[in-house]
């Protein structure tokens, strides 16, 4: 049985029941670890068009706090927050293990994070939660944990670290700051409400404080639920429709996850690349519309390729304009990021950031089974040539192995730490 790559999600039942977790599940189909927790699959949605788009909302009969009450399943063969349709808000946190960390302390931390993540994602307070009321709005909260190289060193399991788990090589476009790079542990906390994200991140960091110290924190945003029509691809802070050419996790799970049944602790796991990419919006302002569209190779109005009419039309990279040049520029971002090699693709799950005037950009997050095989060749091509480089600058970079999901009775990373 092929497990569904996308974490089962639950929308609340119709009647608003204060604080009452609803069990009317909206499954994306497929296998689930939820067991008895799901009452019925009332609807199925998903597919290429839906992923990366604001989640569909249904009829007028929905509860006014519907978005707040929706939950994502924590337990399953894969961690949530990867195949999960991106929520509106994200906090990505890297932490460094304290000196003296070892496998035993990592196991304790993972037990704590497992417990906290499971409770919080269900809309329940963590143990010893000092603000339990803030946990009452799950808003599709997901907590995703990643391991930097430091985890394997601390656990004395250097041989278990995947070959691709090392800092990316430096690129010509990079202007990396230490303050935005590296980290032993990653926490990706996403939800459709920023209060939820803030509380969950605080609980997780607070309970980790004897184990690890925060290294960097990046907050990101996309569209809020209910603000754009269902199926709308989000726009990044440069105004571009961003995500059209993304892969569909349900259709090509092998590009993201190590096969569930495969050998080794990474079965059901993946890798995360987190790059903080600054956008020079002031200089982007100087570019006219045609120049902006040429930079990407897509129209600003609807994200359609310059060679097509609709957003999801396949770009025609061969098409020539009246003067013999490619309609899609030789250095356009979509030409340079596309490859013929079907393996050189990955899941992009970026968020916008805006930390004040002159400090805007993308928290670029990608998930792939193998960073070296899938991500690096594309990043190299973009480093060599990409019109977008004129306005975008990577200022942070970190990579993590993302352990598989947590089955019943298990804790995060158990296959690595005990295997």
């Amino acid at each position: 049985m092929t497990a569904d790559p996308v974490q089962p999600e639950q929308l609340p039942a119709d009647g608003p029941g204060p604080g009452r977790p609803s069990r009317r599940g909206f499954l994306r189909g497929g296998a689930t670890f939820l067991g008895g927790a799901i009452g019925g699959a009332a609807a199925t949605f998903g597919g290429t068009a839906a992923w990366g788009a604001t989640r569909p909302s249904s009829s007028s009969s929905e509860a006014p706090d519907q978005a707040g009450r929706a939950t994502v399943a924590f337990r399953g063969p894969r961690q949530p927050g990867v195949g999960t349709t991106p929520q509106a808000f994200a906090t990505l946190l890297a932490l460094d293990l304290v000196d003296g960390s070892d496998r035993e302390s990592l196991v304790r931390l993972m037990r704590i994070w497992t417990d906290d993540a499971e409770r919080l994602m269900a809309g329940r307070p963590g143990l010893a939660d000092t603000e339990p009321e803030l946990a009452a709005v799950p808003a599709r909260l997901t907590v995703t944990v990643g391991y930097g190289p430091g985890v394997f060193a601390a656990a004395d399991l250097p041989g278990r670290a995947p070959a691709w788990l090392r800092p990316l090589p430096s690129f010509g476009v990079d202007r990396l700051a230490d303050a935005w790079s590296g980290g032993d542990l990653l926490l990706q906390v996403c939800a459709d409400d920023p209060v939820t994200v803030s509380h969950a991140a605080r609980v997780l960091v607070k309970q980790a404080r004897t184990f690890a110290r925060p290294r960097w924190l990046q907050r990101g945003f996309r569209n809020s639920p209910g603000t754009v029509a269902p199926g709308t691809t989000w726009r990044n802070p440069m105004g571009q429709v961003d995500g059209t050419g993304n892969i569909d996790p349900a259709a090509e799970p092998h590009l993201i996850w190590h096969p569930d049944g495969s050998a080794g602790w990474l079965a059901g796991g993946t890798s995360a690349v987190v790059r903080r990419i600054a956008m020079d919006l002031d200089r982007w302002d100087e570019v006219d519309r045609a120049g902006r569209e040429n930079t990407i190779g897509r129209r600003l109005s609807d994200g359609s390729p310059l060679t097509g009419r609709h957003e999801h039309d396949t770009p025609d990279l061969e098409a020539k304009g009246p003067n013999g040049f490619g309609v899609i520029d030789a250095a356009a971002h979509i030409r340079r990021s596309r490859t013929q090699d079907p393996h050189e693709r990955f899941l992009r799950r970026p968020y916008g950031y805006d930390d004040g005037p002159g400090d805007t950009g993308l928290v670029f997050v990608s998930y792939q089974a193998d960073i070296d095989r899938q991500f690096l060749p594309v990043q190299r091509r973009l480093d060599e040539l990409d019109l977008l480089n004129e306005w975008t600058t990577p200022i942070g970079s970190a990579i993590f192995a993302v352990p598989p999901g947590v089955g019943p009775g298990e804790y995060l990373g158990q296959a690595l730490l005990e295997g």
Binding site: R20, G39, A128, K206, T210
Partner: protein, 202 residues
């Protein structure tokens, strides 16, 4: 019709099982819920479930175990004592008003969990007090306490240990009855939790 909704009782029982085991074999059936046909649970302990137990991490000295006890039976259950291998001594504590400020002390009559009622052990409220802890209770570990009911039956609570800055309540005068190591906790105001008091107070 309401098949899709899990009743609070079932949720509670399911959660409780994670943190709870009962010592006497006779209690096993009672650990999840009250017997269906109204028959009284075999023992007091069997009438109780524990939800979300946890303990405050501490290097040494004093700490406490918290959680929600639910009496699923139709009769009151009185807890009279507690025991833990992790502590020199273990007591059932409650808060009393002493000159306008709340202080904790050993609960003279034990802790009463009324019939069909939930009873919360929490910072600032009743708790199971661990005194004379010598081996650190580290976050992510578990600590086990056995709470004895009036009829002698025991409820074993396995509590995950968590970092916690609160629960620095002061120890009442009655605390003097404890051994000498407790004196440092015998402060009467609430500005505990900083300086030398850190980690030693409940």
């Amino acid at each position: 019709m309401n098949r899709s909704t899990i009743s609070p009782a079932r949720t509670l029982a399911a959660t409780a099982v994670l943190g709870l085991t009962l010592l006497p074999a006779a209690c096993t059936a009672g650990s999840e819920a009250a017997p269906e046909d109204g028959a009284a649970p075999a023992t007091d302990a069997a009438a109780l479930t524990v939800e979300d137990p946890w303990a405050k991490a501490v290097d040494d000295g004093m700490t406490a175990v918290f959680g929600t006890l639910t009496n699923t039976s139709g009769h009151d259950v009185r807890l009279v004592s507690a025991e833990s291998a992790a502590a020199g001594s273990t007591e059932l504590h409650e808060f009393v008003d002493e000159g306008g400020s709340p202080v904790m002390q050993e609960a003279g009559d034990g802790l009463l969990v009324p019939a069909e009622t939930s009873f919360t052990l929490e910072p600032g409220g009743p708790h199971v007090m661990l005194l004379g802890v010598t081996d650190p209770l580290e976050p992510g570990e578990e600590v086990t306490v056995a709470v004895t009911a009036e009829d002698g039956s025991e409820l074993e609570i396995t509590a995950p240990v968590r970092s916690f800055d609160g629960a620095n309540e002061s120890y009442g005068q009655d605390g003097d009855a404890q051994d000498g190591s407790m004196d440092s906790m015998d402060h009467s105001d609430q500005d505990a939790g900083d300086g030398s008091d850190h980690g030693e107070d409940m």
